[in-house]
Symmetry: C2
Subunit: 340 residues, 2 copies
DNA sequence: CATTCATAAGTAATCGATTACATATGAATG
DNA sequence: CATTCATATGTAATCGATTACTTATGAATG
């Protein structure tokens, strides 16, 4: 890294012009077998590593081989999976990924968006701050290549990869009902994120289908953070007639809920049952093992990157929506089926 | 991002040369109040966002305002804290951070190192693959600005931020001993990472100090991954005379251990006690709450970035080693003191 | 009043790649 | 044999910033 080898150094060593080296590098235009060999030899000998910076400065939009990835909360393991998936797919085509964590903070989001812009990315994969995220929306309107993951945008058509949130939470609630639960607390994330509302919809549908009356006092929304999760759980447990089961709307809320439940000495699932949205690779390490709605985070990331490639190829095709399936991982935190 | 505004656009709008705009941007050289005002006005009106790419191409080493961050395993929440800390400190001086996760994979590490080099970073913060990581070592030898975190390098002097691993594990083991445990299993990460060995040293010291004979069959090293953690725990639990307590050498091993323990229906801490190295923000969500050696991951990251700034300022000063303190977070997974 | 100097701002080269354009060669074509 | 064309390679401009260098101005100095 000291004095980096440049394309000129390679050209000189190989006895050709830098244009020829560039041709070898990009496999473009005509090159004789002989020239190619000389260049490849020189590159190897000098351990040449072309400057992505210089390349990005020159090359047009869409060929810069860099994606931006802007994630709401890297402390949530679900998003870590998404990041890994995006990178994996991007690398198959020699694209690099610049991952940014805005930690659910609007100013941070703006800051990273500026950084990514100034890094000349080809496209962006993002979990918008919320549905009306003006920053992301205006980029989409400008025609900048964007794929949203996990969260959709309102009032604007954009490529998006989500999961069947409604169906996922429906399955979870139905599972609880079948195990005999009637009073089920719903603990959502930010209301302004569509995902949160779809999860509520599944909750409502399951209750309605089983003729369980909706009790509005059993429905809460927070801000997807640990503290808010704790508060919601506390509120539920402090009720005169507390719910017998909790549906926690994401990873972080689930973890917060478990802390409160354990600290009160309550037994899962006897005193209180819990299903979480978002599985974790260590769900079995919880005691009892957590029943959870698994989202394919890694696959979400992969699909998002694939979609972004497609968008670059065809900038004008109509945006698509990919809906991946969730899976209810039944473990032990909801109790066993007594009705059987 | 469509047609980005360039410094020339700003210059034209302000009626000055691009040099003058650059001077305002960098607060360098002489600028009249009047010119500065015009330029600032134009920048605001055009929402000018200077190209980091163009800047990095031109500017010399050390002023490019970009750090590389190469992390061993982003799925380990400890490293997530490190990343957050690095970014936080870097941003105070307008440096951006390019985070890379090599997932404990050597080829990945090489790939990212190439990417980072070609991105013209000013310096690198890295958790080396292991002690003899030739790639990182050769960069250090070249004089490239590097700060190692969490893991040191062998045979080469380099800036490094670590914790008192020996003392941390000593405290943990001593705690177990005081609670009456004599047969304590040690489950380490990769033996080739100094950290793993230092944690073993603390383990040995605590045992020796309490005149407990060392039983080599109670000491295992794996590769810091979940599967290897499971295998080690299984091996211990399958012994004729299994240990009464486990010391797990990192987050991931701890989690793996818990899975095995719970799956066998063993009760913590009655059947088996456990202390983990690495605390997690949700250690209280485990049941029972996990007693763990907390590393200040966030602070490690901050200090590493600070050190890298210092290294850039004074390239030739002798490398330093910062050792941060661990803290034993006593919760419930080791049992309560019966000796009292 | 000539000289010096601090202030101010512009011109053009530069970073390391890609690419538009020019040029050269030899085989194939009519 | 003149023309065309596929192949092969080089020259120079370019991307958007910074910076070495030049030039200009007016106040201060001796």
């Amino acid at each position: 890294m000291k004095d980096s080898i440049t394309i000129q150094d390679v050209a000189k060593r190989a006895g050709v012009s830098s244009t020829t080296v560039s041709r070898v590098l990009n496999n473009s235009g005509y090159i004789s077998r002989n020239a190619r060999n000389k260049v490849e030899k020189a590159m190897k000998e000098l351990e040449y590593n072309p400057s992505r910076v210089a390349r990005r400065l020159r090359v047009a939009d869409g060929d810069r081989k860099l994606f931006g990835l802007l994630i709401a909360d890297i402390q949530n393991p679900f998003y870590v999976d998404v990041v890994r998936g995006v990178e994996e797919m991007a690398f198959t085509r020699d694209y690099a990924v610049y991952p940014c964590n805005f930690a659910q903070d609007r100013n941070r989001e703006k800051m990273y968006l500026d950084i990514l812009q100034s890094e000349a990315i080809d496209g962006l994969i993002v979990t918008p701050y919320h549905e009306e995220d003006e920053l992301v929306i205006s980029l989409v309107r400008e025609g900048f290549p964007i794929v949203c993951v996990d969260r959709n945008l309102g009032n604007v058509d954009v490529d998006v990869v989500v999961v069947d949130n409604e169906a996922g939470s429906y399955k979870a609630i139905k599972h609880l009902i079948q195990l005999g639960h009637q009073r089920i607390g719903f603990l959502g994330g930010l209301y302004s994120i569509p995902t949160s509302r779809h999860r509520k919809d599944g909750y409502l549908r399951a209750l309605e289908e089983h003729d369980i009356p909706i009790d509005e006092s059993l429905i809460e929304f927070g801000d997807s953070k640990y503290e808010s999760g704790k508060q919601m759980v506390q509120k539920f447990l402090d009720m005169d007639e507390p719910p017998t089961a909790l549906f926690t709307g994401n990873n972080v809320i689930t973890l917060a809920g478990l802390e409160v439940i354990h600290s009160r000495g309550l037994i899962i699932p006897d005193d209180i049952a819990i299903v979480g949205f978002d599985d974790m690779y260590w769900s079995n390490s919880l005691n009892p093992p957590l029943t959870a709605v698994a989202q394919p985070g890694y696959e979400i990331g992969r699909q998002a990157a694939r979609m972004l490639f497609e968008r670059l190829n065809e900038p004008n095709k109509p945006p698509r929506k990919i809906v991946l399936k969730t899976e209810l991982m039944i473990r032990k935190s909801c109790g066993s089926d007594v009705s059987k």
